[in-house]
């Protein structure tokens, strides 16, 4: 024989479509769900950070027009139709539009507590809406939708997603997937923004100490871990100062690594089949740590473009990794 036949046929081939960090972008989320049919994926895995970052008040004025913020300046929307079109546009970009009177807007802007409550309500509403969309599109297809939380995800969405019959929401669990295992570990290491779910390296060590014993066969285990491994291209990003400004050295932006060194050690030591990561939007790429393939699709959600990764598994190995921009 002049060639070696690969172990295992394609009978047990599994195509995973993975994306992460959509941050409230409805158009990207709908594309992600559409990716199952479009790419012929068997499984959809969302790496966390489903929730967005900004509420966009649309304030109704006495003359029937609306004021909103767009492109760095205040925009006047002349009528309700324009206001609704604006709301749809910003929804696609990941914002949460909130139509209100000018008086309500002025009260709200000086009331952080009420702002926060509004934020959380709108985030939950969108997650409910997305969960319904998952059911509408995936019901009967046999394609599961699997997700774990990112560091930016409010705790309020956990209950919504767990209750959804169409979403497999897991955190700090090891689950079964068509003969494979999936280890789910959300959140991230500490960030300058002090976000919802952040852990120290020591806490990550404890988390993996709890999860790793649950894995039966590491060679058939997929890590669905929001944070990427430290010191790789998957976690490279600009360093920020205490004012959240990019640090420059001799006129050059200073780069740093924001992933988890504990995770790197765990992958290097235990060699799982695959690592699915997100968190660092600039960290698009795929690498190998030992034999483990690790991917981060990155994210450009404000542009309405879905960055993803198609991973083909067969015969107990990663057969193909293909980056997508759909």
């Amino acid at each position: 024989m002049f060639w070696k036949k690969r172990s295992g046929g394609d009978d047990n081939k599994l195509v995973i479509f993975f994306a992460s960090d959509l941050h409230g972008s409805t158009v990207c989320f709908k594309k992600f769900i559409g990716g199952a049919k479009f790419y012929g994926a068997d499984v959809l895995v969302m790496g966390g950070d489903m929730t967005g970052k900004a509420v966009m008040p649309i304030a109704e004025q006495a003359d029937g027009s609306y004021l909103a913020f767009s492109g760095g300046r205040t925009t006047t929307l002349p009528d309700r139709d324009e206001a609704e079109a604006f709301a749809k546009r910003v929804t696609d970009m990941g914002f949460y539009p909130a139509t209100m009177s000018e008086a309500d807007y002025r009260r709200l802007k000086d009331d952080p507590a009420t702002q926060d409550a509004l934020f959380r309500r709108l985030v939950v509403e969108r997650v409910v809406e997305w969960s319904g969309y998952v059911g509408e599109k995936l019901q009967g297809t046999g394609v599961p939708f699997i997700t774990a939380p990112g560091n930016d995800d409010f705790a309020e969405i956990d209950e919504v997603l767990r209750r959804s019959p169409h979403v497999q929401y897991h955190e700090m669990e090891v689950t079964e997937l068509r003969g494979l295992e999936v280890l789910h570990c959300g959140g991230s290491t500490k960030t300058p923004w002090d976000t919802e779910r952040e852990y120290t390296e020591a806490e990550y060590r404890e988390r993996f100490d709890r999860l790793l014993p649950q894995v039966k066969d590491m060679r058939r285990c997929i890590f669905n871990v929001h944070v990427p491994p430290h010191g790789t291209v998957l976690d490279q990003c600009p360093e920020l100062d205490e004012n959240l400004q990019v640090v420059f050295n001799m006129g050059t932006p200073v780069q740093m690594h924001a992933g988890s060194s504990t995770l790197y050690e765990v992958i290097e030591t235990h060699q799982p089949l695959l690592g699915l990561h997100g968190h660092i939007h600039e960290g698009r790429g795929n690498i190998k740590i030992g034999k483990t393939v690790c991917v981060n699709p990155g994210s450009v959600y404000p542009e309405g473009i879905l960055q993803g990764v198609l991973v083909t598994l067969a015969g107990g190995e990663v057969r193909a990794v293909q980056m997508t921009q759909g």
Binding site: A54, P57, P78, F119
Partner: protein, 540 residues
Amino acid sequence: MSTTSGGGDDKRIFLRKASGLIRMASPFDTFIFNIGLVSVGLGVGTIMFYGPAYYAGGNLLVACIVAGVAMACIAFGMITWTVTLPRSGGIYVFGSRSLPPFLALTLSLVEITAWLFYCAIAAYWIIILGVGPTLAMIGYVTGSEWAAGAAAGVVQPWPMFLIGSAILVLSGVILAAGMKRYLLTQKIVFVTALIGSLLLIVVLLGGSRADFMTEFNLLMDPILGVENAYDAIIASAKENGWGADGADWATTILVSNWAFLPLIGAAFSIAIGGEVKSVEKSQTYGMLGAIVGTVAIWLITIALADSVFGYEFLGAAVYNLLGGVGIATPTDPSITLMAGILTNSWLVTLLVSIGLIFWMWMWIPGMHTFAVRALVAWAFDRIAPAPLGTISSTRHTPTVAIVVSVIVTIVFMALFVFTSFFKTIIILIEAAVLAWSVVLLAGIFFPYTRPHIYEKSPIARRTILGLPMMTVACALGFAASQFYFWTLFFDDVAAGHATNQMLIVGGVFAIGVVFYFVMKAVRRSQGIDVTLAFKEIPIE
């Protein structure tokens, strides 16, 4: 239709603490990136070198303005593209969203082939227009036989190839060392090059035609064995056919090719679209600023050089030397050499030369970077072998893609140095201009063919004469790029249309098409459909 106010109001947005993408490049960074790839000094060097010699009668100042206006139109089109699709990767990104996949790849391949060819040309020019004349001038001024011998030696084929290859390898090493080191070296090089250019202007401001003629004759009369070498060179060139009667619009348009060629670099920030913050502002200031700044420096330098050295002399000296006729200077009569003669100072010669060399150098890693980014993007999309996308685990740089780019440029360098055929062609620029032209043509229709993408663009609601801004901008850009495609086509000095050379251009396009379909077949056999990487997922 909504209207906007220029601020003064509070920011009507409630933000929460959340992590996310940080874009780095500011308007100034973008400007530096572009003006470095224009290579201000190289532009002056080539315009003053080839312009008066081969385009006698052409007005160099008008030519620079014409090229600047045309490039501004092209930049306008590219700005609307990169604002609409603010991602890194240049025309590959734009083409993959608007054209059939095979064409997007082909245009990208054509483009990077041209830029890599320019890397080799820049290394060649560093030796011919920079190192050689500098050593010669130092030899004349100091009486150093070693310098004079070295000046003659470096322009021989093998030394030229080895030095050129070393320059290209150095660029690869810097890129492989990481983006941080690359950007740092580029900024140091930029400042040094700018100082060299400003010094040249100062030298020219302090000199006069009479000073230059005196110094030139003093130095060259004994070397050339004639009296009044300055006038003798002009006279012998005219006897051998050089010269024209007054200004000529057609010649001015043709000589503007030499201004247009480097100006293309002013739009190269499309390659880093994904890394630019405040993309609309940064790209607009970055591109248009680079064009305006470059043309301004050119106009000042050319006007002063004309005044001090004389248009006739500059043209005659190069015409004689390159044509092998009449009385010729013993080395290339570059502007560096002339400045050195004017001041009779080895230090000024050295500083001005270093400035010119550094301007040319800025092209090399810049062009390499452009190609490397495209290769990595192809590898990500699985239309190129996966190793091209491999990132070094220690340096975090795409080492394989860098090595491949450097090797390709060394091959181009060999072709340029060792074959007479490639030595005269810059025709690949026509192919690159054509590739940009196709993308700009696609941009005219983009707001209509991809409305769901265009409506998210910050310029989606802006119109000019009732048409989408992108349509108008890309139409202007398409017209300007077509203008220069045909201007280059009919300019046998800068590019031309000789049959065998056109076959090379056609061959590069053909290679791109074949490469795409071969990789598509290979990937299909591996169970990968490469077309998926290009397609937008429909929302049903």
